[in-house]
Symmetry: C2
Subunit: 237 residues, 2 copies
Protein backbone atom coordinates (compact mmCIF):
# COMPACT_ATOMS: atom_id res chain seq x y z
CA UNK A 1 0.00 0.00 0.00
CA UNK A 2 1.23 3.50 -0.86
CA UNK A 3 1.62 5.94 2.02
CA UNK A 4 -0.47 9.11 1.59
CA UNK A 5 1.63 11.71 -0.27
CA UNK A 6 1.97 15.30 0.89
CA UNK A 7 1.51 18.31 -1.38
CA UNK A 8 3.65 21.21 -2.53
CA UNK A 9 1.83 24.41 -1.57
CA UNK A 10 2.78 27.70 -3.25
CA UNK A 11 2.39 30.60 -0.80
CA UNK A 12 2.30 34.16 -2.13
CA UNK A 13 3.72 36.90 0.08
CA UNK A 14 2.51 40.51 0.39
CA UNK A 15 4.05 43.26 -1.75
CA UNK A 16 4.16 46.79 -0.39
CA UNK A 17 1.29 46.92 2.11
CA UNK A 18 2.09 44.60 5.03
CA UNK A 19 -1.48 44.35 6.32
CA UNK A 20 -1.99 40.78 5.13
CA UNK A 21 -5.78 41.14 5.05
CA UNK A 22 -5.28 43.49 2.08
CA UNK A 23 -3.59 41.00 -0.19
CA UNK A 24 -3.94 37.42 1.06
CA UNK A 25 -7.08 35.30 1.46
CA UNK A 26 -7.51 34.04 5.02
CA UNK A 27 -7.48 30.42 3.70
CA UNK A 28 -3.77 30.79 2.92
CA UNK A 29 -3.06 30.99 6.67
CA UNK A 30 -4.88 27.72 7.33
CA UNK A 31 -2.59 25.91 4.92
CA UNK A 32 0.47 27.83 6.15
CA UNK A 33 -0.13 26.69 9.72
CA UNK A 34 -0.21 23.06 8.50
CA UNK A 35 3.30 23.19 7.00
CA UNK A 36 6.46 22.46 8.94
CA UNK A 37 8.87 22.58 6.02
CA UNK A 38 9.39 25.63 3.81
CA UNK A 39 11.51 26.34 0.76
CA UNK A 40 12.53 30.01 0.88
CA UNK A 41 14.78 32.46 -0.93
CA UNK A 42 16.03 34.21 2.20
CA UNK A 43 15.77 32.90 5.75
CA UNK A 44 15.33 36.24 7.50
CA UNK A 45 12.40 37.52 5.40
CA UNK A 46 10.72 34.09 5.44
CA UNK A 47 10.86 33.94 9.25
CA UNK A 48 9.55 37.48 9.46
CA UNK A 49 6.64 36.64 7.13
CA UNK A 50 5.69 33.54 9.14
CA UNK A 51 5.72 35.55 12.37
CA UNK A 52 3.68 38.32 10.77
CA UNK A 53 1.17 35.74 9.46
CA UNK A 54 0.64 34.37 12.98
CA UNK A 55 2.44 31.07 12.33
CA UNK A 56 1.73 29.18 15.55
CA UNK A 57 4.64 26.74 15.67
CA UNK A 58 8.13 27.22 17.00
CA UNK A 59 10.47 28.46 14.29
CA UNK A 60 13.14 26.22 15.81
CA UNK A 61 11.02 23.14 15.03
CA UNK A 62 10.46 24.32 11.45
CA UNK A 63 12.69 23.21 8.59
CA UNK A 64 13.83 25.81 6.07
CA UNK A 65 15.50 24.99 2.74
CA UNK A 66 17.24 27.82 0.93
CA UNK A 67 16.61 28.27 -2.78
CA UNK A 68 18.78 30.91 -4.45
CA UNK A 69 21.60 31.21 -6.97
CA UNK A 70 24.03 29.48 -4.58
CA UNK A 71 21.88 26.37 -4.07
CA UNK A 72 23.31 23.19 -5.61
CA UNK A 73 21.17 20.81 -7.69
CA UNK A 74 22.18 18.06 -5.27
CA UNK A 75 20.55 19.96 -2.40
CA UNK A 76 17.47 20.86 -4.44
CA UNK A 77 16.95 17.19 -5.24
CA UNK A 78 16.22 16.52 -1.54
CA UNK A 79 13.84 19.45 -0.91
CA UNK A 80 10.65 17.53 -1.55
CA UNK A 81 11.59 14.39 0.38
CA UNK A 82 9.19 15.22 3.22
CA UNK A 83 6.30 14.96 0.73
CA UNK A 84 6.88 11.24 0.25
CA UNK A 85 6.67 10.92 4.04
CA UNK A 86 3.16 12.39 3.83
CA UNK A 87 3.97 15.98 4.83
CA UNK A 88 2.99 19.16 2.98
CA UNK A 89 5.90 21.40 1.95
CA UNK A 90 5.48 25.15 1.41
CA UNK A 91 7.24 27.23 -1.23
CA UNK A 92 7.38 30.89 -0.13
CA UNK A 93 8.14 33.75 -2.47
CA UNK A 94 10.11 36.82 -1.32
CA UNK A 95 7.17 38.99 -2.44
CA UNK A 96 4.23 38.36 -4.74
CA UNK A 97 3.53 35.04 -6.45
CA UNK A 98 6.01 32.14 -6.20
CA UNK A 99 7.43 31.07 -9.58
CA UNK A 100 6.41 34.31 -11.33
CA UNK A 101 9.60 36.32 -11.79
CA UNK A 102 11.41 34.21 -9.16
CA UNK A 103 13.49 30.97 -9.06
CA UNK A 104 10.67 28.82 -7.60
CA UNK A 105 10.09 26.98 -10.86
CA UNK A 106 13.12 24.77 -10.11
CA UNK A 107 10.94 23.27 -7.38
CA UNK A 108 7.61 23.13 -9.24
CA UNK A 109 9.26 21.57 -12.29
CA UNK A 110 10.74 18.85 -10.05
CA UNK A 111 7.36 18.34 -8.35
CA UNK A 112 5.70 17.90 -11.76
CA UNK A 113 8.34 15.30 -12.73
CA UNK A 114 7.69 13.44 -9.46
CA UNK A 115 3.87 13.55 -9.95
CA UNK A 116 3.46 15.55 -6.74
CA UNK A 117 0.21 17.48 -6.29
CA UNK A 118 0.84 21.24 -6.41
CA UNK A 119 -1.54 23.73 -4.77
CA UNK A 120 -1.02 27.32 -6.02
CA UNK A 121 -2.64 29.92 -3.72
CA UNK A 122 -4.09 33.32 -4.52
CA UNK A 123 -2.08 36.43 -3.72
CA UNK A 124 -0.83 39.74 -5.04
CA UNK A 125 0.83 39.95 -8.45
CA UNK A 126 2.26 43.38 -9.20
CA UNK A 127 2.15 42.45 -12.90
CA UNK A 128 -1.58 41.67 -12.85
CA UNK A 129 -2.51 44.65 -10.64
CA UNK A 130 -0.65 46.94 -13.04
CA UNK A 131 -2.21 45.31 -16.12
CA UNK A 132 -5.74 45.54 -14.65
CA UNK A 133 -5.45 49.27 -13.97
CA UNK A 134 -3.45 50.22 -17.07
CA UNK A 135 -6.42 50.34 -19.45
CA UNK A 136 -4.38 48.20 -21.86
CA UNK A 137 -5.36 45.00 -23.67
CA UNK A 138 -5.68 42.19 -21.10
CA UNK A 139 -6.67 39.55 -23.67
CA UNK A 140 -3.16 39.43 -25.12
CA UNK A 141 -0.09 40.38 -23.09
CA UNK A 142 3.51 39.37 -22.46
CA UNK A 143 5.72 39.68 -19.40
CA UNK A 144 9.36 40.11 -20.44
CA UNK A 145 11.19 40.28 -17.11
CA UNK A 146 14.15 42.66 -17.17
CA UNK A 147 15.37 44.46 -20.29
CA UNK A 148 19.00 44.18 -21.49
CA UNK A 149 21.39 46.51 -19.65
CA UNK A 150 23.39 47.52 -22.75
CA UNK A 151 21.92 50.74 -24.13
CA UNK A 152 21.84 49.64 -27.76
CA UNK A 153 20.28 46.25 -26.95
CA UNK A 154 17.78 47.95 -24.66
CA UNK A 155 16.61 50.30 -27.40
CA UNK A 156 16.26 47.39 -29.81
CA UNK A 157 14.13 45.56 -27.20
CA UNK A 158 11.91 48.63 -26.65
CA UNK A 159 11.34 49.09 -30.39
CA UNK A 160 10.55 45.39 -30.66
CA UNK A 161 7.96 45.78 -27.88
CA UNK A 162 6.40 48.77 -29.64
CA UNK A 163 6.05 46.75 -32.85
CA UNK A 164 4.31 43.94 -30.95
CA UNK A 165 1.93 46.44 -29.34
CA UNK A 166 0.87 48.02 -32.61
CA UNK A 167 1.00 44.98 -34.92
CA UNK A 168 -0.10 42.15 -32.61
CA UNK A 169 -2.06 44.28 -30.09
CA UNK A 170 -0.04 42.57 -27.37
CA UNK A 171 0.51 44.58 -24.19
CA UNK A 172 4.16 44.46 -23.11
CA UNK A 173 5.02 44.28 -19.41
CA UNK A 174 8.50 44.53 -17.89
CA UNK A 175 10.37 45.54 -14.76
CA UNK A 176 13.62 47.29 -13.87
CA UNK A 177 16.00 47.36 -10.91
CA UNK A 178 14.36 50.10 -8.75
CA UNK A 179 17.43 52.38 -8.71
CA UNK A 180 17.31 52.57 -12.52
CA UNK A 181 13.56 53.33 -12.81
CA UNK A 182 13.86 57.04 -13.65
CA UNK A 183 16.42 56.29 -16.33
CA UNK A 184 14.20 53.51 -17.75
CA UNK A 185 11.22 55.82 -18.06
CA UNK A 186 13.35 58.48 -19.76
CA UNK A 187 14.67 55.92 -22.25
CA UNK A 188 11.15 54.65 -22.96
CA UNK A 189 9.76 58.15 -23.43
CA UNK A 190 12.45 59.18 -25.90
CA UNK A 191 12.59 55.87 -27.78
CA UNK A 192 8.87 55.23 -28.35
CA UNK A 193 6.71 57.13 -30.83
CA UNK A 194 5.15 60.22 -29.17
CA UNK A 195 1.64 58.73 -29.21
CA UNK A 196 2.54 55.25 -27.95
CA UNK A 197 0.99 54.73 -24.50
CA UNK A 198 3.14 53.93 -21.46
CA UNK A 199 1.74 52.90 -18.08
CA UNK A 200 3.88 53.52 -14.99
CA UNK A 201 2.68 51.47 -12.00
CA UNK A 202 4.65 52.17 -8.81
CA UNK A 203 4.25 51.28 -5.12
CA UNK A 204 1.43 48.83 -5.79
CA UNK A 205 -0.86 48.24 -2.75
CA UNK A 206 0.88 51.04 -0.79
CA UNK A 207 -0.82 54.36 0.14
CA UNK A 208 1.58 56.02 -2.33
CA UNK A 209 0.36 53.74 -5.17
CA UNK A 210 0.69 55.44 -8.56
CA UNK A 211 -0.76 53.86 -11.74
CA UNK A 212 -0.88 56.31 -14.63
CA UNK A 213 -1.17 55.72 -18.40
CA UNK A 214 -0.12 58.52 -20.76
CA UNK A 215 1.45 58.78 -24.22
CA UNK A 216 5.24 58.83 -24.48
CA UNK A 217 5.20 62.57 -25.26
CA UNK A 218 3.65 63.26 -21.83
CA UNK A 219 6.36 61.37 -19.96
CA UNK A 220 9.13 63.25 -21.82
CA UNK A 221 8.21 66.47 -20.03
CA UNK A 222 6.35 65.21 -16.93
CA UNK A 223 8.35 62.36 -15.41
CA UNK A 224 7.33 61.33 -11.88
CA UNK A 225 10.09 60.48 -9.44
CA UNK A 226 10.06 56.67 -9.25
CA UNK A 227 13.65 56.28 -8.03
CA UNK A 228 13.88 53.16 -5.84
CA UNK A 229 10.09 52.66 -5.92
CA UNK A 230 9.03 49.18 -7.09
CA UNK A 231 7.62 49.83 -10.52
CA UNK A 232 6.00 47.86 -13.32
CA UNK A 233 6.26 49.36 -16.83
CA UNK A 234 3.73 48.61 -19.56
CA UNK A 235 3.49 49.60 -23.20
CA UNK A 236 0.08 49.22 -24.78
CA UNK A 237 -2.75 50.63 -26.78
CA UNK B 1 -11.99 74.39 -4.98
CA UNK B 2 -12.22 70.93 -6.56
CA UNK B 3 -14.75 68.54 -5.06
CA UNK B 4 -13.15 65.34 -3.77
CA UNK B 5 -13.14 62.76 -6.59
CA UNK B 6 -14.24 59.16 -6.15
CA UNK B 7 -12.20 56.21 -7.33
CA UNK B 8 -12.68 53.32 -9.74
CA UNK B 9 -12.21 50.10 -7.78
CA UNK B 10 -11.51 46.85 -9.63
CA UNK B 11 -13.11 43.90 -7.80
CA UNK B 12 -12.00 40.35 -8.65
CA UNK B 13 -14.61 37.60 -8.32
CA UNK B 14 -14.02 33.98 -7.26
CA UNK B 15 -13.38 31.28 -9.86
CA UNK B 16 -14.47 27.72 -9.13
CA UNK B 17 -14.50 27.53 -5.32
CA UNK B 18 -17.25 29.82 -3.99
CA UNK B 19 -15.90 30.02 -0.43
CA UNK B 20 -14.68 33.60 -0.78
CA UNK B 21 -12.16 33.22 2.05
CA UNK B 22 -10.22 30.92 -0.29
CA UNK B 23 -9.60 33.45 -3.02
CA UNK B 24 -10.35 37.01 -1.89
CA UNK B 25 -8.61 39.10 0.79
CA UNK B 26 -11.06 40.31 3.45
CA UNK B 27 -10.09 43.93 2.64
CA UNK B 28 -11.93 43.61 -0.70
CA UNK B 29 -15.23 43.36 1.20
CA UNK B 30 -14.55 46.61 3.06
CA UNK B 31 -14.24 48.48 -0.22
CA UNK B 32 -17.15 46.55 -1.78
CA UNK B 33 -19.47 47.65 1.02
CA UNK B 34 -18.52 51.30 0.35
CA UNK B 35 -19.66 51.20 -3.30
CA UNK B 36 -23.22 51.92 -4.42
CA UNK B 37 -22.56 51.86 -8.17
CA UNK B 38 -21.21 48.85 -10.04
CA UNK B 39 -20.26 48.20 -13.64
CA UNK B 40 -21.00 44.54 -14.39
CA UNK B 41 -21.07 42.13 -17.32
CA UNK B 42 -24.24 40.34 -16.24
CA UNK B 43 -26.78 41.59 -13.72
CA UNK B 44 -27.80 38.23 -12.30
CA UNK B 45 -24.30 36.97 -11.48
CA UNK B 46 -23.27 40.38 -10.11
CA UNK B 47 -26.23 40.47 -7.71
CA UNK B 48 -25.51 36.91 -6.66
CA UNK B 49 -21.86 37.79 -5.96
CA UNK B 50 -22.79 40.84 -3.87
CA UNK B 51 -25.24 38.80 -1.80
CA UNK B 52 -22.67 36.03 -1.37
CA UNK B 53 -20.05 38.61 -0.27
CA UNK B 54 -22.39 39.91 2.44
CA UNK B 55 -23.10 43.24 0.72
CA UNK B 56 -25.08 45.07 3.40
CA UNK B 57 -27.09 47.54 1.30
CA UNK B 58 -30.37 47.03 -0.49
CA UNK B 59 -29.81 45.86 -4.05
CA UNK B 60 -32.74 48.09 -5.07
CA UNK B 61 -30.80 51.17 -3.91
CA UNK B 62 -27.71 50.05 -5.83
CA UNK B 63 -26.99 51.21 -9.38
CA UNK B 64 -25.81 48.67 -11.94
CA UNK B 65 -24.38 49.54 -15.35
CA UNK B 66 -24.11 46.75 -17.89
CA UNK B 67 -20.89 46.33 -19.84
CA UNK B 68 -21.01 43.74 -22.61
CA UNK B 69 -20.95 43.49 -26.38
CA UNK B 70 -24.37 45.22 -26.65
CA UNK B 71 -23.36 48.32 -24.66
CA UNK B 72 -23.14 51.53 -26.70
CA UNK B 73 -20.18 53.89 -26.39
CA UNK B 74 -22.68 56.66 -25.52
CA UNK B 75 -23.79 54.70 -22.46
CA UNK B 76 -20.23 53.79 -21.46
CA UNK B 77 -19.31 57.48 -21.53
CA UNK B 78 -21.65 58.09 -18.55
CA UNK B 79 -20.58 55.14 -16.39
CA UNK B 80 -18.00 57.05 -14.36
CA UNK B 81 -20.10 60.17 -13.75
CA UNK B 82 -20.70 59.27 -10.09
CA UNK B 83 -16.94 59.54 -9.53
CA UNK B 84 -16.96 63.29 -10.22
CA UNK B 85 -19.70 63.54 -7.57
CA UNK B 86 -17.26 62.05 -5.08
CA UNK B 87 -18.50 58.44 -5.11
CA UNK B 88 -16.45 55.28 -5.62
CA UNK B 89 -17.54 53.09 -8.54
CA UNK B 90 -16.84 49.36 -8.62
CA UNK B 91 -15.97 47.32 -11.70
CA UNK B 92 -16.86 43.63 -11.16
CA UNK B 93 -15.57 40.81 -13.31
CA UNK B 94 -17.70 37.76 -14.08
CA UNK B 95 -14.93 35.58 -12.63
CA UNK B 96 -11.26 36.22 -11.89
CA UNK B 97 -9.53 39.55 -12.41
CA UNK B 98 -11.35 42.46 -14.09
CA UNK B 99 -9.73 43.58 -17.35
CA UNK B 100 -7.70 40.38 -17.75
CA UNK B 101 -9.43 38.38 -20.51
CA UNK B 102 -12.62 40.47 -20.15
CA UNK B 103 -14.06 43.72 -21.61
CA UNK B 104 -13.36 45.85 -18.48
CA UNK B 105 -10.52 47.74 -20.16
CA UNK B 106 -13.09 49.95 -21.92
CA UNK B 107 -13.75 51.39 -18.47
CA UNK B 108 -10.18 51.52 -17.14
CA UNK B 109 -8.93 53.16 -20.36
CA UNK B 110 -11.62 55.85 -19.98
CA UNK B 111 -10.71 56.31 -16.31
CA UNK B 112 -7.05 56.80 -17.26
CA UNK B 113 -8.03 59.44 -19.85
CA UNK B 114 -10.12 61.23 -17.19
CA UNK B 115 -7.27 61.09 -14.62
CA UNK B 116 -9.41 59.03 -12.25
CA UNK B 117 -7.63 57.10 -9.52
CA UNK B 118 -7.90 53.32 -10.13
CA UNK B 119 -7.57 50.80 -7.29
CA UNK B 120 -6.94 47.24 -8.55
CA UNK B 121 -7.62 44.60 -5.87
CA UNK B 122 -6.04 41.20 -5.34
CA UNK B 123 -7.94 38.09 -6.40
CA UNK B 124 -7.74 34.81 -8.25
CA UNK B 125 -6.23 34.65 -11.73
CA UNK B 126 -6.57 31.25 -13.36
CA UNK B 127 -3.69 32.23 -15.67
CA UNK B 128 -1.30 32.99 -12.80
CA UNK B 129 -2.35 29.96 -10.70
CA UNK B 130 -1.73 27.73 -13.72
CA UNK B 131 1.61 29.39 -14.51
CA UNK B 132 2.80 29.11 -10.87
CA UNK B 133 2.12 25.38 -10.71
CA UNK B 134 3.17 24.49 -14.27
CA UNK B 135 6.91 24.38 -13.55
CA UNK B 136 7.42 26.56 -16.64
CA UNK B 137 9.39 29.79 -17.03
CA UNK B 138 7.63 32.56 -15.07
CA UNK B 139 10.20 35.22 -15.98
CA UNK B 140 9.02 35.39 -19.58
CA UNK B 141 5.49 34.43 -20.58
CA UNK B 142 2.66 35.46 -22.87
CA UNK B 143 -1.10 35.13 -22.58
CA UNK B 144 -2.69 34.73 -26.01
CA UNK B 145 -6.41 34.53 -25.22
CA UNK B 146 -8.28 32.16 -27.54
CA UNK B 147 -6.69 30.44 -30.54
CA UNK B 148 -8.15 30.76 -34.06
CA UNK B 149 -11.09 28.41 -34.73
CA UNK B 150 -10.01 27.47 -38.27
CA UNK B 151 -7.99 24.26 -38.10
CA UNK B 152 -5.18 25.41 -40.38
CA UNK B 153 -4.82 28.78 -38.62
CA UNK B 154 -4.92 27.04 -35.26
CA UNK B 155 -2.07 24.70 -36.19
CA UNK B 156 -0.02 27.65 -37.45
CA UNK B 157 -0.64 29.42 -34.12
CA UNK B 158 0.41 26.34 -32.12
CA UNK B 159 3.63 25.91 -34.14
CA UNK B 160 4.33 29.61 -33.66
CA UNK B 161 3.91 29.18 -29.88
CA UNK B 162 6.28 26.19 -29.90
CA UNK B 163 8.93 28.24 -31.70
CA UNK B 164 8.60 31.03 -29.09
CA UNK B 165 8.95 28.49 -26.27
CA UNK B 166 12.13 26.94 -27.62
CA UNK B 167 13.78 30.03 -29.19
CA UNK B 168 12.72 32.82 -26.81
CA UNK B 169 12.11 30.62 -23.72
CA UNK B 170 8.72 32.31 -23.44
CA UNK B 171 5.96 30.24 -21.82
CA UNK B 172 2.76 30.39 -23.88
CA UNK B 173 -0.62 30.51 -22.12
CA UNK B 174 -4.04 30.28 -23.77
CA UNK B 175 -7.63 29.22 -23.15
CA UNK B 176 -10.42 27.50 -25.08
CA UNK B 177 -14.20 27.38 -24.96
CA UNK B 178 -14.76 24.62 -22.35
CA UNK B 179 -16.78 22.37 -24.67
CA UNK B 180 -13.79 22.22 -27.08
CA UNK B 181 -11.13 21.43 -24.43
CA UNK B 182 -10.67 17.75 -25.27
CA UNK B 183 -10.29 18.56 -28.94
CA UNK B 184 -7.80 21.33 -28.15
CA UNK B 185 -5.59 19.01 -26.11
CA UNK B 186 -5.69 16.37 -28.89
CA UNK B 187 -4.67 18.99 -31.47
CA UNK B 188 -1.85 20.25 -29.23
CA UNK B 189 -0.57 16.73 -28.54
CA UNK B 190 -0.44 15.75 -32.20
CA UNK B 191 0.89 19.11 -33.48
CA UNK B 192 3.72 19.72 -31.02
CA UNK B 193 7.03 17.86 -31.03
CA UNK B 194 6.80 14.73 -28.83
CA UNK B 195 9.13 16.20 -26.17
CA UNK B 196 7.56 19.66 -25.97
CA UNK B 197 5.95 20.13 -22.55
CA UNK B 198 2.24 20.88 -22.18
CA UNK B 199 0.59 21.85 -18.89
CA UNK B 200 -3.15 21.21 -18.51
CA UNK B 201 -4.65 23.21 -15.62
CA UNK B 202 -8.36 22.48 -15.04
CA UNK B 203 -10.91 23.31 -12.33
CA UNK B 204 -8.56 25.74 -10.58
CA UNK B 205 -9.39 26.29 -6.86
CA UNK B 206 -11.98 23.44 -6.94
CA UNK B 207 -11.57 20.12 -5.10
CA UNK B 208 -11.25 18.51 -8.56
CA UNK B 209 -8.31 20.82 -9.45
CA UNK B 210 -5.94 19.17 -11.94
CA UNK B 211 -2.60 20.77 -12.88
CA UNK B 212 -0.31 18.37 -14.70
CA UNK B 213 2.73 19.01 -16.93
CA UNK B 214 3.86 16.27 -19.31
CA UNK B 215 5.48 16.06 -22.75
CA UNK B 216 3.18 16.04 -25.81
CA UNK B 217 3.85 12.32 -26.33
CA UNK B 218 2.26 11.56 -22.94
CA UNK B 219 -0.95 13.46 -23.76
CA UNK B 220 -1.34 11.63 -27.07
CA UNK B 221 -2.05 8.37 -25.28
CA UNK B 222 -3.21 9.58 -21.83
CA UNK B 223 -5.69 12.42 -22.33
CA UNK B 224 -7.72 13.38 -19.20
CA UNK B 225 -11.39 14.21 -19.71
CA UNK B 226 -11.54 18.02 -19.52
CA UNK B 227 -14.79 18.42 -21.43
CA UNK B 228 -16.63 21.50 -20.11
CA UNK B 229 -14.09 21.99 -17.30
CA UNK B 230 -12.55 25.47 -17.20
CA UNK B 231 -9.01 24.86 -18.37
CA UNK B 232 -5.84 26.87 -18.95
CA UNK B 233 -3.35 25.41 -21.44
CA UNK B 234 0.37 26.18 -21.30
CA UNK B 235 3.30 25.25 -23.51
CA UNK B 236 6.72 25.64 -21.95
CA UNK B 237 10.09 24.21 -21.13
Amino acid sequence: MFPMQGRLILFPVHIGCDDLSHSLPSYNSELLYGCHTFIVEELRTARRFLKHAGYPHSIDDTTFYLLNEHTSQKDIDTYLDAISRGEDVGLLSEAGLPCVADPGRLITAMAQRKNIEIIPLVGPSSLMLALMASGFNGQNFAFNGYLPIDRHDRIVAIKNFEAKVHKEHQTQIFIEAPYRNNQMLATLAETLRPDTQICVAADLTLPTQYIVTKPARHWRTNPPNIHKRNTVFLIGE
